[in-house]
Amino acid sequence: MTTTALQLQDVRKHFGPAEIIRGVDLEVSSGERHAIIGPNGAGKSTLFNLISGRFHPSAGHIRLKGDEITRRSAFAIARSGLSRSFQVTNIFHNLTVFENLRCAVLWSLGYRYNFWRRIKALKDVQARATELLELTHLGPRRDLLAGELPYADQRALEIGITIAGGADVILLDEPTAGMSVEETERAVALIQRVSEGKTLLMVEHDMEVVFGLADRISVLVYGQIIATDTPEAIRSNSEVQKAYLGETPDQEPRHAGSQ
């Protein structure tokens, strides 16, 4: 029996006169790996912002495991088990890598605004942060300032922070943006590791990554989803090709859209 982890129902968003998201319906099942692709300007990041609570939809509903989260604030949504990463690396640049991860696990382990215990004495926090360090292969960089890491490591840390709280629904916004081939491979391996048993929704431009990882793909064009289906079906969907890929079926570009 599959449950719906995340549901969007006729979600709309306009900024002033411009309607960016024009009625999106989406259902992501529990444990599914779902990718959203689409040309630039389609509204993919906006959609993520709506889901994660960075701002609120003008109309429509968003439900997380049946719970209405449409108007909830970002931190409340994060506490409800939905976590997101950012396209432009959004880490705590003046904290070390380890401190970044440590901060990210605090709330989920129940340590609210504690100011009477040393953080080093919290064994579960230290253990979980160390676990994440190993998961993201950032061990050697443990005590470096996050702001001084090379780009790919920052992206790994970005993902590490995102999954740190143990969220069951993970949103990744262009996780392999700006990466070389080897870096992308490592990132994909990381994503597979961390999304084990979780629901994954990701925005990606790299078609190889998408077709390799995703169970289902939705295509977002001008604020509307024009198709949701398995990768093979999407690949051969003529409407999608017309609107987005712009190529005939036997000529697939590796990267569609611009970086």
Binding site: N90, N94, E99, R102, C103, L106, N114, F115, I161
Partner: protein, 432 residues
């Protein structure tokens, strides 16, 4: 604000190891033996009070990214309530030990820090700064209106030698006052340091660095800032209580903008990104205030110039200057820097001396009569003609020359630093 570390060093809150603590302990215990006159002990006590005040301010500023222009409110209210408690307990014969009265100040600082903090921390950044300014002015104005509680312009006084004392006849002699202040100061330093190591302390840093991301890891930035603001109020209130008992009087200035500005300058000059920064800054500024005011009317101008110079050229503060030299010392590269520093010494000293000379000359100008009243004045034992245009022209010329020579020397310093950085990288086995 956090410092941009040029090198990948491990701790960024404190200076490495235990030696700063040992040094602090030595200074605390040893200084009163070296400087044992009443005047010196008074200065040391003032420094101790300002250390606590500055540390409380940096909880907001350097550690949580909240720039407040009204922090003196909690300090001042702590002072006033403590004074009232002292007088009240003495009058009512309540045997509450005077040595623990700063706790009253702390409780008051905590309470107001919480109430006003909840209101004001809904916004951050510049808006918070301006709101804190407004609240500060409001409270200072109310203090003048509510004469009964605040004693009007003359303030409120009390005698800390009265009442119950648990540690002998504390506060009757200056050396006892010093130990009273030193004890509270030590306790507060340890307490604030402990706070920086707690989850709240770390999350506050995260909120400082990236309040948006802090939300996405489950934290409400407003709630974090509110709690930090409350704790900062607590320590500011303790400092105020210490001040009330040390000085025997509290005046409305304690609440005012000037006091708020002073603690900001102390923290920034000392270094907001390092735990010991505010301690260093409090010592430097208090010292400058007391010492310079004996020699010149221009002491406030000097402090202002010093502050602007730090903002422009030493953004991490004095503590950061120490910090960036530590890897240099550790990798034994100091030898490469010293020649360049020596080269810089002459233009820098000439610049400072000349600037001081010009400022002192300017202060011979009597504004009310709009002329230089004295024909000449004595600068470092040399008589100088103040009226002479030649003197001014010469002074400006020397200043320009010093700036020119200084810029040239600065290039050598930069080159030396690049050299040192490369050697350190090599020594660590990092790629160049």
């Amino acid at each position: 604000m956090a410092t941009a570390s040029a090198h990948r060093t491990r701790p960024r809150v404190g200076l490495q190891g235990l030696w700063p603590w040992a040094l602090l302990a030595v200074l605390f215990l040893g200084l009163p033996w070296v400087f044992h006159s009443n005047a010196s002990l008074t200065v040391l006590s003032l420094i101790g009070i300002n250390i606590v005040f500055a540390l409380s301010y940096n909880m907001l500023f350097g550690q949580t990214g909240l720039l407040s222009f009204g922090h003196a409110v909690y300090y001042g209210l702590g002072a006033y309530f403590t004074m009232h408690a002292l007088n009240g307990f003495v009058a009512a014969g309540i045997a509450y030990p005077v040595e623990f009265l700063p706790l009253v100040g702390g409780a008051v600082g905590l309470a107001f820090g919480a109430v006003l903090g909840f209101l004001t921390t809904r916004r951050a950044g510049i808006t918070f700064a301006l709101i804190s300014l407004g609240i500060g002015v409001l409270v200072a104005s109310l203090a003048i209106i509510l004469r009964h509680f605040f004693g009007g312009d003359g303030g409120l006084s009390g005698d800390p030698t009265q009442g119950t004392h648990w540690f002998g006849d504390t506060l009757a002699h200056q050396i006892q006052v010093y130990y009273f202040v030193a004890a509270w100061c030590a306790v507060c330093i340890v307490a604030v340091y402990f706070y920086t190591k707690t989850p709240l302390g770390h999350i506050a840093n995260a909120v400082r660095d990236n309040p948006e991301r802090a939300e996405f890891i489950g934290y409400n930035p407003h709630q974090v800032r509110f709690r930090v603001h409350t704790l900062a109020g607590l320590f500011a209130g303790i400092a105020g209580g210490m001040a009330a008992l040390t000085n025997g009087i509290v005046t409305p200035d304690a609440l005012g903008f000037v006091t708020s500005g002073e603690v900001l300058m102390m923290v920034y000059i000392g270094g907001a990104g390092i735990f010991f920064g505010p301690i260093i800054g409090a010592a430097i500024i208090t010292f400058m205030q007391v010492l310079l005011s004996n020699y010149t009317n221009a002491w406030q101008l000097y402090i202002g110039l010093f502050f602007v110079a730090v903002v422009m050229y030493v953004p991490g503060g004095v503590a950061n200057l120490f910090k960036i030299h530590m890897p240099v010392v550790r990798y034994r590269q100091l030898g490469r820097l010293l020649p360049a520093y020596a080269l810089m010494l002459t233009p820098a000293s000439v610049f400072i001396l000349d600037l001081v000379f010009m400022v002192q000359m300017a202060y011979q100008f009597h504004s009310s009569s709009q002329i230089f009243l004295n024909q000449s004045f004595s600068f470092l034992g040399i008589g100088v003609e103040v009226h002479s245009g030649l003197t001014w022209a010469l002074a400006l010329l020397i200043l320009a020359a010093a700036i020119g020579a200084g810029s040239l020397a600065a290039r050598y310093v930069n080159r030396a630093w690049d050299d040192v950085a490369a050697h350190i990288k090599a020594a660590r086995g990092e790629a160049p």
